[in-house]
C-alpha cells in the first residue's frame, strides 16, 4: 500500500494565486439542479481531491470544467484569466485535460490513429505507457481489442503526454487491477511533485490520504467545504458528504445471523466443464439457492466471458449448464431470463436506455416477449416499478430520463429492473464500480437480502473487501480456469491475491514479484 504523503501545502501557506479557480458554478437539467453553487480552487503543484456522495455533482462539475457541457452560471479562472470553456478543445488549450471514467479512445481506430486524432506526441505517450506499467503495448492494436483496464491507462498516458497544467482524473483507479492502480497513483503523485496540478476524484480514502493535499467536498450540488488531508480527516469528510443524513460509515462485517441458510439439495445453477474458445477452460462450479458466490479475478481472466455465457449472450463451445437440475442451452439472453437468470453488466451504458424514463427502464423486461406486446396494464406496472424504486431507494427527482441520474442511481435502476421482474438468480458484474460509499453499502445490503429470500447471486468484483462483505463463497479465476474456491472465512486478501495471480495455495509471494506478473498478456500468449 502507499505511504501517506507528507503534505507539501496547507491552507496556511497558500501561494497567492490558485491555478484554477471556479466559483458559483451552477447547472440545471430541466427542473433538476445538478449543481447549485459549486466552487473549486486548485493550487499549482497540488493534488486536489474532489469528493461527494452519489449525485452530489462531481461529474457535472468535471464536465463543466472540461467544456463538455456549459454551465448555467458561475465563473472559472485559470491562472487568473477568465476562461470561457465552450468546448473540450478550449479547455485543452487552457491546459485542462480530463480522463473520464469511460475510455475515450475510438474503438475502431488503432492506438496510433487515436493519438493523431488528438495531436498527441507519440514518443512521450510511449514513455508514459511504459512508466504506467505496460511494457509491450503495440500502438497498431485496434482500441476495441484492448482490455478495459489497459484502455483507461492509455487514456491517462495520452493525457500525460501533452503535459497538462491541470489533469482531471475521474475514478481513475476504479476497475484497475492492483498492479496497474499502484503505478497510476505513483505517476499522479509525481505530477504533483513536478509542480503540476491534479484534480482527483475517487471513492477510496486510502488513495486520497496517500495522494492528495486538500479535498473539496460537494453535497447536493454545492461545495460544502475544503479541507486539508491529514490523518483522521476521513470521518469529517464523510460527515460533510452526507450532511444531515449522518450514518455510521464503517459497515460491520457481515453479521453471522445474516448468513443465508444455503438450502436445497439441488443447486440453482450448476456449471460443468464450461468451455469458450480459449477464454474459458473447464470452468465448473455450483451456485445454491440463497447463496452469494463471489468471482474474483484480475482484469481479463475470462470473467467477462463467463458472465456473458451464463447470461445467454455468448454460446459456450463446450460444457454444460444446469438450472435446478435440468440442462439448459441459452441461445439468447431471453432464454436465460426465461430460466430466471438476470444479468447486470458492469457498464451501465450497456444496460440502460439512457433517454428513457426510470419506469420504462425498469419495466423493459415486461414487454420483451412476443406475447407481452399488447396494452400495458399501467396501474399494475406502476405498483411493481415503484416497489422496486422504493426498495433500492432510487432518487427519482430526474426520473424522466435515466441519463440525468447520477451513476449510482443509474446502477440501482439496472438492478431494480430484475428485482421488479423477480429474477431468481442475478449475475452482478462489478456493480459498485465508480459509485459512492453510501450506494455501495445499499447494494451490499440488497444482495444479502436477496440471498436471505432464497435467491442466488453470482457477484464479480475487482475489490477484495467486497468479497468479504457480500459473499458466502469465492471462486477465483485465472487464465480462464477456476483455480481455487474459498469459503468467505478463508478468503483473506493475501490468499485471494495469490490465487488471482495463479499461485498455488501456501506459496510465498511478495509484491515485488507480483507486480511483474502480467496475467492478461500471459493468457493471450497462451491462446
Amino acid at each position: 500500500m502507499l505511504e501517506p504523503r507528507t503534505p507539501v501545502l496547507t491552507t496556511n501557506e497558500l501561494p497567492k494565486s490558485p491555478l484554477l479557480d471556479a466559483t458559483g458554478v451552477a447547472k440545471n437539467y430541466g427542473a433538476v439542479a445538478a449543481l447549485r453553487n459549486a466552487s473549486l480552487s486548485v493550487l499549482p503543484g497540488e493534488v486536489h481531491a474532489l469528493m461527494g456522495a452519489n449525485g452530489a455533482g462531481k461529474s457535472t462539475l468535471v464536465k463543466i470544467l472540461t467544456g463538455a457541457i456549459n454551465a448555467d452560471a458561475g465563473r472559472i479562472l485559470i491562472r487568473g484569466q477568465l476562461l470561457d470553456v465552450r468546448s473540450p478543445a478550449a479547455a485543452r488549450r487552457a491546459g485542462l485535460l480530463p480522463v473520464y471514467q469511460e475510455p475515450s479512445l475510438i474503438p475502431d481506430l488503432d492506438v496510433l490513429s487515436n493519438l493523431r486524432l488528438t495531436g498527441t506526441p507519440v514518443e512521450p505517450f510511449r514513455a508514459w505507457v511504459r512508466e504506467l506499467g505496460i511494457p509491450n503495448l503495440d500502438i497498431r492494436d485496434t482500441a476495441r481489442d484492448i482490455p478495459l483496464a489497459i484502455l483507461r491507462v492509455l487514456d491517462l498516458a495520452r493525457a500525460l503526454a501533452v503535459e497538462p497544467d491541470v489533469l482531471l482524473l475521474d475514478e481513475m483507479t476504479a476497475a484497475l487491477p492492483a498492479n496497474l492502480a499502484e503505478k497510476v497513483l505513483e505517476v499522479v503523485r509525481r505530477q504533483g511533485d513536478a509542480g503540476r496540478s491534479v484534480i482527483f476524484i475517487s471513492h477510496r480514502f486510502v488513495e486520497i490520504s496517500a495522494l492528495c493535499d486538500r479535498a473539496t467536498v460537494l453535497r447536493d450540488g454545492s461545495t460544502v467545504g475544503v479541507v486539508d488531508i491529514e490523518p483522521g480527516i476521513e470521518e469529517k469528510i464523510v460527515e460533510m458528504m452526507l450532511g444531515t443524513r449522518i450514518e455510521k460509515t464503517r459497515v460491520a462485517a457481515r453479521a453471522a445471523n445474516d448468513v443465508a441458510v444455503v438450502g436445497g439439495s439441488r443447486p440453482r445453477l450448476s456449471v460443468r466443464n464450461l468451455q469458450l474458445g480459449t477464454k474459458l477452460n473447464d470452468v465448473s462450479f455450483d451456485l445454491a439457492n440463497g447463496e452469494v458466490v463471489g468471482v474474483f479475478a484480475l482484469e481479463g481472466q475470462g470473467q467477462d466471458e463467463l458472465f456473458a455465457t451464463l447470461a445467454g449472450s455468448i454460446r459456450p463451445t463446450g460444457g454444460t449448464i444446469d438450472v435446478d437440475g435440468a440442462p439448459v442451452k441459452f441461445s439468447h439472453p431471453s432464454d436465460a431470463i426465461q430460466a430466471g437468470i438476470a444479468y447486470v453488466p458492469g457498464d451501465r451504458t450497456e444496460a440502460l436506455a439512457m433517454q428513457r424514463s426510470v419506469r420504462e427502464n425498469i419495466a423493459l423486461p415486461f414487454s420483451a416477449g412476443l406475447r407481452k406486446w399488447g396494452p400495458i396494464r399501467m396501474r399494475r406496472e406502476q405498483v411493481v416499478v415503484s416497489g422496486a424504486i422504493g426498495r433500492l431507494q432510487i432518487d427519482t427527482r430526474a426520473q424522466g430520463e435515466v441519463q440525468r441520474l447520477s451513476g449510482g442511481n443509474q446502477q440501482k435502476v439496472t438492478i431494480a429492473r430484475w428485482i421488479a421482474a423477480n429474477a431468481r438468480t442475478i449475475l452482478c458484474f462489478d456493480p459498485t464500480r465508480g459509485i459512492d460509499v453510501g450506494t455501495k453499502q445499499e447494494i451490499y445490503k440488497l444482495l444479502r437480502e436477496l440471498a436471505g429470500q432464497g435467491k442466488s447471486v453470482l457477484f464479480y468484483t475487482s475489490e477484495m473487501e467486497e468479497v468479504q462483505r457480500v459473499c458466502d463463497r469465492v471462486i477465483v479465476i485465472f487464465g480462464g480456469r477456476v483455480v481455487d474456491t474459498f469459503p468467505v472465512e478463508e478468503a483473506d486478501e493475501p490468499a485471494l491475491m495469490r490465487a488471482a495471480y495463479g499461485l498455488p495455495r501456501g506459496a510465498r509471494a511478495d509484491v515485488g514479484i507480483l507486480a511483474d506478473v502480467r496475467p492478461a498478456s500471459d493468457a493471450e500468449a497462451a491462446s
Binding site: T11, G24, A26, N28, Y29, G30, A31, A33, R36, N37, S39, I69, N70, D72, A73, S222, T223, V224, G225, V226, V227, D228, A311, S313, H332, P333, S334, I337, Q338, Y343, P345, T349, E350, A351, L352, A353, M354, Q355, R356, E360, N361, A363, L364, P365, F366, S367, A368, G369, L370, K372, W373, G374, P375, I376, M378, R417
Partner: protein, 328 residues
C-alpha cells in the same frame, strides 16, 4: 478549512422560458404553426376560412400518416424510404383492379405488395442487419420496377377511382373532411401504441440502446419485422386515401411525399438516431409543412425558388427547434 456558502444565482427569464419549452416540446411547434397561419392571413386577408382549413387537413393527412411510418421507424434508429412506392403500388393496383374485381378482392390485392415489401424490409434490417436506408431504398426501387411491369399488363383495362375512396379522399361532411374518419382512429392507435403497449416501449428501447434491450430479453428481429410490416401497411392504406384525393393514378403518385414525411417527423421532434420522439409532434410537423407549402404557393414564386426556400425553412426550423428543446 474554508467554508463556502453563497446563494445560488437567480435563473434568468430567458432560461426559464427555454426550460419550460424543453419540458413541453409541443408548445414551440404549435406556436410556429400559429405564426405561419397568421402570416398567411396577413398576406391574403380572408384566406383562412372553413374551406381552407378543410383543404389543409385533406392534404396534411396523407403526409401525416406517412410521417407516422417514419416516426415509428426512426424511433428504432431506422427510416422507411419505401413508403412512397408502397403507397403508389397500393393506389395503382386498387385503381386498376377495381375495374374487373370485387372491391374486397381489389383491396386485398392492393395491400399484398405492402405486406411483402414490409416483410422484406423487416427481414433485411432485423435479421441480415442491412442499414434501413439502403434496405428500404432498395425495395422501393424494386417495387417501382414491378409496378412498371404490372402497368403494361393492365394498360388495356384502364383505371377508375372507387367511389368510396373518392368520398374518403375529397369529401367534406359538415365542414369536416371525411379523411378524418380514417386519420383520427389511425392517429389514436399510433399514439396509444407508442405510449401504452409493450410493442411501443420496445420501439423506443431498441432505438435507444439495442444492447440493453437484448440483455432485457428483447429479440431485435421480431420487433423490427413487425415494425416494417406495420409501416408498410400504413403506407398502403395511405396510398388508397391519396388516390381518392389526387384522382390520377400514376407511377410516381406518392413519391413526392417521402422526403416531406421524413421532414415532418424530424420537425416534430423525433430523433433520427432513435429512442426519442412521438407521434403528436409529427402530426403538427405535417401541418406545419402543409401550411408552409400553401404559403410559398401564394407567394407566386417560380417552382425552383419555392423549393429552395422550402428547404432552407425546413433546415432552419429543425435547427432552431432542437436548440430550444435540447437543454445541454
Amino acid at each position: 478549512m474554508t467554508d463556502i456558502a453563497t446563494m445560488p444565482q437567480p435563473v434568468s427569464f430567458g432560461r426559464r422560458i427555454k426550460r419550460f419549452m424543453a419540458d413541453r416540446p409541443l408548445i414551440p411547434l404549435i406556436i410556429l404553426l400559429v405564426i405561419l397561419v397568421v402570416i398567411l392571413q396577413i398576406l391574403r386577408p380572408g384566406i383562412v376560412n372553413e374551406r381552407w382549413l378543410a383543404n389543409t387537413a385533406k392534404f396534411a393527412i396523407p403526409l401525416a400518416i406517412l410521417a407516422g411510418c417514419q416516426t415509428m421507424t426512426m424511433l428504432t434508429g431506422g427510416i422507411d424510404l419505401s413508403v412512397g412506392t408502397v403507397a403508389t403500388m397500393s393506389a395503382f393496383i386498387m385503381a386498376t383492379q377495381i375495374v374487373n374485381q370485387d372491391p374486397a378482392v381489389a383491396f386485398l390485392l392492393a395491400m399484398l405488395p405492402a405486406v411483402l415489401i414490409g416483410l422484406v424490409n423487416g427481414i433485411g434490417v432485423g435479421v441480415f442487419r442491412v442499414h434501413p436506408l439502403i434496405m428500404t431504398l432498395g425495395t422501393s426501387l424494386i417495387g417501382t420496377g414491378f409496378l412498371q411491369v404490372y402497368q403494361r399488363t393492365v394498360i388495356a383495362s384502364g383505371a377508375k377511382i372507387p367511389d368510396f375512396l373518392n368520398w374518403l379522399g375529397t369529401g367534406v361532411t359538415y365542414g369536416f373532411p371525411n379523411a378524418l374518419l380514417l386519420f383520427v382512429p389511425v392517429a389514436v392507435l399510433i399514439v396509444f401504441m407508442l405510449n401504452r403497449t409493450g410493442f411501443g416501449r420496445l420501439l423506443y428501447a431498441v432505438g435507444d440502446n439495442e444492447r440493453a434491450a437484448r440483455l432485457s430479453g428483447v429479440r431485435y428481429w421480431q420487433v423490427i419485422v413487425a415494425l416494417y410490416v406495420l409501416s408498410s401497411l400504413l403506407a398502403g392504406i395511405t396510398g388508397l386515401l391519396y388516390i381518392g384525393l389526387i384522382k390520377a393514378p400514376s407511377l410516381s403518385l406518392a413519391e413526392p411525399l417521402v422526403l416531406p414525411s421524413v421532414a415532418a417527423a424530424v420537425i416534430g421532434g423525433t430523433s433520427i438516431f432513435g429512442g426519442r420522439g412521438g407521434y403528436t409532434g409529427t402530426i403538427i410537423g405535417a401541418l406545419i409543412l402543409t401550411v408552409l407549402t400553401t404559403l410559398l404557393t401564394i407567394l407566386q414564386m417560380p417552382e425552383g425558388g419555392r423549393r429552395i426556400l422550402f428547404g432552407f425553412i425546413v433546415l432552419f426550423v429543425t435547427a432552431a427547434y432542437l436548440r430550444i428543446v435540447e437543454d445541454r
